[in-house]
């Protein structure tokens, strides 16, 4: 297997007396979907925050494409090829689908803000930016919705838009925090199909509660309980792991 694109080495996050994430190590590889599951409060979202740079880790190291990026702010990680979506839909509600994607795509060729050239050129005509936005639009299947204001989209399509925005930044590593949350059956199906497509060419981390989707998509599974990883392996290994059954899957079948 090739070198890991994103690697967490012993990440911990402490909030006062609460150890939200405790010594978590994991590696994300290209063309591979790594799912993180666990009951509510297990620290999955906090782990995503640590990996994306939204929240600084208390301990541990983060490596991106062979470079130590511990402590980098998330805009810098984003420019370095790491894209993420949020548990709570996070798009520009006031902008159209296309303008959302253009702003995302523009970040890859943005000049420094203090460069006067970035004050005087026309943002809407940059060919490279338009191409990136167009690719993301097609990939996420949003061509029909191109001109609709994001606030007027259904919840499921907003989530699709958020992933499309991340794709417009052309990341190599994708962190998706519960992309299926609150979706209807048809929307879920469309999203699972999209995630399946994205597995190729990306190293992906998927935090998700929908077990059908997780077992359909995941190449590797990590199970967290109370901030700690209790098991990690292929879906088959996880299904038969006695600790996991006791701590997590057991709850559902009980």
């Amino acid at each position: 297997m090739s070198e890991a694109l994103l690697q967490a080495k012993g990440l911990s996050k402490r909030y006062g007396g609460l150890l939200a994430v405790n010594d978590v190590s994991l590696s994300l590889y290209k063309d591979q979907l790594h799912a993180v599951i666990g009951p509510n409060g297990a620290g999955k979202t906090t782990l995503t925050h640590l990996l994306s740079g939204d929240v600084p880790a208390t301990h541990g190291e983060l490596w991106l494409k062979g470079q130590n990026v511990s402590g980098w702010p998330h805009h810098r990680l984003s420019l370095h090829g790491l894209g993420r979506s949020y548990q709570k839909t996070n798009v520009f509600l006031a902008l159209s689908v296309w303008d959302n994607l253009m702003l995302a795509a523009q970040s890859r060729s943005a000049r420094a803000p203090y460069n006067p050239l970035s004050w005087l050129s026309d943002a809407s005509t940059d060919k490279a930016v338009r191409d990136r936005a167009e690719r993301a639009l097609q990939l996420a299947g949003l061509a029909q919705e191109q001109q609709i204001i994001a606030a007027n989209l259904s919840h499921g399509v907003q989530r699709q838009l958020e992933i499309a925005m991340v794709l417009a930044t052309e990341p190599q590593v994708l962190l998706l925090d519960e992309p299926l949350a609150g979706m209807g059956a048809a929307e879920t199906e469309a999203m699972v199909a999209l995630l399946h497509k994205l597995k190729k060419n990306h190293a992906m981390l998927l935090v998700e509660h929908d077990m059908d989707a997780v077992f359909a998509l995941a190449d590797v599974l990590t199970v967290m309980v109370n901030g700690t990883v209790i098991a990690s392996g292929t879906p088959q290994q996880i299904r038969t792991d006695s600790k996991v059954q006791a701590a997590y899957l057991g709850e559902e079948t009980a």
């Binding site: 805009h75 006031a94 303008d99 702003l103 523009q106 803000p113 203090y114 004050w119 940059d126 606030a151």
Partner: protein
């Protein structure tokens, strides 16, 4: 919710026509009027530049600065200090230096204030401008509470601002350049990013934009443009005092932007003219019996702003809009 529709970034046809007619009127104005009104309109144009510079922060980036007058006043002081006793300062030196001084002050102050948000940003910008105000107010060497006189207005290379007509057309040119520049900036990659920061700063950062640098650049640029207005103000009045940096000056600029409509530059321009026209009307109201209505102009102005905010959240500019066009 603030939407681009609410901000009318794309100017409706009716507003474009209004602005064009306004431009023709401004070009012809000095030919049709006495000197007094020409000076009044010059002042309005200067304040329009000031209001537009604030709109870059308030309407476009979502940073409500209650201390923007600090950069306006500072530029005026620079002109005063650069003016010799018996001659005018060379405008080719005084204008860039005045704008540079304002930009530098905005850069340094901005470095501390743009990391704050919402109400804290409002308070901190106000605190810094009050510090500047008292720095000039309390120091005799800087002019003290009396301010500084400019005996001869700036001139040099093709320009003599002692000439009221030249001052008028020079101010008009500065206003047009500022307007064109900011409208262009609004649609530039920089402007789109500032718009993103106003709508959702966290998302903008997550997309890879260093929002701090963007906000600091906007703050500095707005300071420089306020400096342009301050230069012209000093050149027109021939006098600067600490009030130019004061709280009232900053608050008036905010009201101008709200009155006209935020976030599209044109609204700030219209708002500045509207504010000054209403001000003149209110200060000219008749005495009714024992009640001097003109003395209470602030009451009428306050009521007007409240009324505009309630019935026309997009400001005077929103009222110009053709409602039918919205449903197309």
């Amino acid at each position: 919710m603030s939407t681009p529709q609410a901000h009318l970034e794309t100017l409706p046809r009716s507003v474009q026509v209004f602005l064009f007619v306004g431009l023709i009127a401004l070009l012809a104005f000095p030919f049709a009027q006495q000197d007094f009104y020409t000076q009044t309109v010059t002042r309005m144009m200067i304040l329009a530049i000031f209001a537009m510079s604030l709109d870059l922060l308030q309407g476009i980036t979502g940073l409500v600065s209650l201390g923007h007058a600090a950069y306006f006043g500072l530029a005026g002081y620079v002109v005063a200090y650069l003016s010799p006793q018996d001659a005018g300062a060379n405008w080719l030196i005084a204008l860039p230096l005045a704008m540079l001084a304002s930009a530098l002050a905005a850069l340094v102050i901005g470095f501390f204030v743009v990391r704050t948000h919402g109400i804290y940003f409002i308070m901190v910008t106000m605190a810094f401008s009050q510090m500047m105000y008292f720095l000039f107010f309390d120091n005799k060497a800087l002019g003290g509470s009396d301010g500084v006189y400019i005996n001869v207005r700036p001139g040099g290379l093709g320009l003599d601002l002692e000439n009221k007509w030249m001052l008028y057309y020079f101010t008009l040119a500065c206003m047009l350049i500022t307007y064109a520049f900011l409208r262009r900036l609004l649609w530039s990659p920089f402007g789109r990013t500032l718009n993103g920061i106003r709508l959702n700063e966290h998302r903008t950062r997550a997309l890879g934009y260093a929002s701090f640098s963007y906000k600091l650049t906007a703050f500095t640029l707005a300071g420089a443009l306020a400096g342009l207005a301050g230069f012209l103000w000093a050149a027109q009045t021939g006098y600067v005092n600490p009030d130019l940096m004061g709280f009232h000056m900053s608050a008036h600029a905010i009201m101008m932007v709200i009155l006209g409509g935020m976030g599209n530059v044109a609204g700030a321009l219209i708002g500045a003219f509207g504010f000054e026209i209403f001000l003149d009307v209110f200060k000219d109201l008749p005495k009714i019996g024992n009640f001097d209505t003109a003395k209470h102009w602030q009451l009428w102005m306050g009521s007007l702003i409240v009324l505009v905010v309630i019935v026309a959240p997009q400001g005077l500019m929103g009222l110009l809009r053709n409602k039918k066009a919205d449903h197309e």
